[in-house]
Symmetry: C2
Subunit: 483 residues, 2 copies
């Protein structure tokens, strides 16, 4: 019996195995003692629910149970029996219990009580053992898998774009330097500056802020590619929406115009939400309940009109609202919110950059659904976006989600060599940094488009969590690189 | 007809669409002119084969074809017809040709002739437009997808371990520093050293060399996890087997001993190879042919005994040879190779570290199949590997592949708190760097195992390529961080 292969608790709760003798292994969530029976809730991370282990203290002796506390790791063999209690259909009648690892209740930080999210961040190495974080990590896994499945099924190719880059052309924010130079003894060149030719890559290098430019190179050969990798921003932003290290999904497609681009992005977002509804319902139900309880602590006017599950279903069932930047400015300028000066930044004229408060107004107050904004003024957008016929806007598109803000940003790319070269010069990017990017417009150029999805923002939306630090296993933020 | 939706060439070559009018878009590989007919081989990256476009020069006028050269991007609409030629079943009778982008033959570097792999590395932004590199990138995509599918189907969870890390405990090699300090004006602390509390993370940080330690944290809550992310080594190794930036797959499993670990690794490798055989045969056939031609340039004794496809099938069909380090040392010590001093490093006694020449001898000469070596001397292995009962070996396992060498390295992890703590102290790792790692042994510890697969080494094996720089889109090596 000792060599019985372990069965996952997820399997036992799904299948009817009553009468079978099985072995389970996992971590103790709670233990309840009484004279004639001990109940142990064991969790192995395969599913949010615990297996209730029922043991007769007279059979095992009291000593054994004295060493079993919350957090201990057990191997339990026994028979699956119908449960007497109301919490579960089946339970495990223990015939053999082995303590694989103890957890001293005086020291183990995860006791069966409510811990704050802030405290759990400090013990990010243990928080996956809580219901909330194990649910988030399982959903995160399912979403990553769904991303790959969505693109693979469509014939896209996953392209690993470089993490260390010698170009800082994207200019999306401050970058982290990557170096092997000895900071205590920096080599000098003849001009008295730092001699970066002695650095590992013989020049200055940084961590990438986006795989887009290299992704376009792939699309201009393989037609449809996507990236899914870590990206970095060295911004000193201590908000609930920013991380210094986060994961991005960036598809790039030859022969797509801005409308094809929007269609793909909307289809992908709906696919991901539907995949979560189809494959993660137990975790989503738990997170839904969790969010409802959180809401109770909020003032009435700050509460969401929909529950988490309702929001997810709403996204799948409704078309996103598509409108131009110009139309959005009109709506915002004429809104009561603007007239009553409720915006921190009032909308006065065309050309204004939209702040998060404006995006939220459009999504949450005006349209009450996801919004795709297009055709922004070129001055407030990136150099690689395709200039429209009007000469003043670019074929950009941002997708705004309720509670999240911008979740996707994309554009049709400027495929015309002369136009792109001119923009590169206007912005002041050195051509030696982007010669390879310009080359794709010189040799066999084609209309093409792409977008970026911030993976953690998507997980925020799917899980209903409020802080981006809680949807990535080990968050990196200013001052935080523990674990 | 102009608004006809584009069809991928892969689809047209697979399905019988004779008689259909379709639109294709892609890049010109070759053009052959004659008085009454022009043949254009168009490739869109969806598949290795081209679609042959047949056009009547009298219908389109000669001017059009003067602007069409290798590398140009075209949109062609026409009827799918049975091909007259022998190279393909169907071809496209052009009714409408639009040049989306030209490619000046005086400037475009990818002309239809044989280019060296070295030259193609210098134009890595264009090399995906060659047969060889488009095949490699499609295979690479398929392998990445297969990795996710394999683990997802088994109930493993994909865990994103951090890229920027404050710990250098793994000690697998030299690391890249990550910093936002101004190197031209480094802040000093009171002792006159560099004040790293002013750096972004308020301490010294590096790029990760492995996600294993954090992966174990996930396994000790979710049971079975895997990572798949970039890892970094700042080693000055200019070999055909080393990159400064490469992708690793690192599963970690609670409740697995070293044998379960080997079983999983062997199953995974066979699954990946079988997936390639099932899903990438057209690309593999091309790469097989390519490798055969390469072989012709080699001396007889350096040629492989098997072709690429034979090697792939061999791996799927044969059990890997499992033996202990001690048994391997006996074989090597008594080999004719050792006696005739053909090894650069002669095997004299137990305890010697195995060099690549020894591994290749075992795999390619002695067993002629993949080999799993186990139970290495603890002195030559990492601190986290579980000490065996003999007190001198650890439960490590390395999988060695023909032509590749080590493709997988793993072990059962030391789960005993006191043993691990002792090793940490012996090696001289500071406890404040790994307190969180030790915590998992203190609270609910359990036997567990894991391994790492170098993704690019796997792609080398699957594609039969000889240089690791050719199986990643944009290789990073000493002095190279272009694109």
């Amino acid at each position: 019996m000792k060599d019985l292969k372990r069965t996952k608790i997820k399997h036992l709760l799904q299948e009817n195995e009553v009468g079978q003798t099985v072995n389970i292994k996992g971590w103790v969530r709670t233990k309840r003692d009484s004279k004639n029976v001990v109940f142990i809730a064991l969790n192995d991370g395969s599913v949010i629910h615990n297996m209730q282990v029922v043991a007769d203290p007279n059979r095992f002796g009291e000593e054994l149970f004295k060493s079993i506390h919350t957090g201990a790791c057990l191997s339990v063999t026994g028979e699956i029996t119908p449960s007497q209690g109301s919490g579960q259909k089946v339970e495990l009648a223990a015939a053999q219990i082995e303590v694989l690892g103890t957890a001293d209740p005086e020291q183990y930080p995860l006791q069966p009580k409510k811990h704050s999210l802030e405290f759990l961040r400090e013990i990010a190495h243990l928080r996956p053992r809580t219901n909330t974080f194990s649910a988030i990590l399982r959903v995160r896994h399912a979403m990553a898998y769904a991303v790959h499945k969505f693109f693979n099924d469509k014939g896209f190719f996953y392209l690993h774009t470089p993490i260390i880059t010698g170009s800082d052309a994207e200019g999306a924010g401050e970058m982290f330097r990557v170096t092997t130079l000895d900071l205590h003894n920096l080599p000098k060149n003849e001009q008295g500056g730092i001699d970066f030719t002695q650095d590992f890559f013989e020049k200055e290098t940084n961590l990438t802020v986006s795989g887009q430019l290299e992704g376009e190179l792939g699309a201009m050969a393989l037609s449809e590619i996507y990236t899914f990798g870590p990206t970095f921003r060295a911004e000193n932003s201590n908000t609930t929406r920013h991380l210094a290290e986060f994961w991005m999904i960036e598809p790039e497609m030859a022969f797509y115009d801005i409308n094809d681009n929007m269609d793909l992005a909307e289809e992908m977002l709906k696919y991901l939400v539907q995949y979560a509804l189809d494959n993660c319902m137990e975790d989503l139900e738990f997170l839904n309940q969790r969010a409802l309880e959180e809401e109770k602590n909020k003032k009435q006017e700050e509460r969401s009109e929909m529950s988490l599950l309702e929001r997810l279903r709403f996204v799948v069932e409704n078309d996103f609202q598509r409108l131009t930047y110009t139309e959005a400015i009109d709506i915002l300028k004429n809104s009561n919110h603007n007239k009553k000066k409720k915006f921190q930044f009032l909308i006065e004229a065309w050309g204004a950059d939209l702040q998060s408060e404006h995006e939220r107004y459009l999504v949450e107050k005006h349209f009450k659904k996801p919004v795709i904004l297009t055709n922004y003024p070129k001055e407030i957008k990136s150099f690689y976006m395709r200039e429209n016929e009007d000469g003043k806007t670019v074929a950009a598109m941002d997708i705004l989600f309720p509670g999240i803000g911008e979740i996707v940003g994309g554009s049709q790319r400027e495929e015309r060599y002369e136009k792109l070269k001119q923009r590169v010069q206007e912005i002041g990017i050195k051509e030696e940094q982007v010669w390879w990017y310009l080359d794709t417009r010189k040799f066999g150029t084609a209309p093409h488009s792409g977008f970026g999805l911030g993976f953690e923002r998507m997980i925020l939306f799917i899980t209903g969590m409020g802080n981006i630090r809680d949807v990535i296993p080990f968050p990196r933020t200013p001052g935080n690189a523990e674990f």
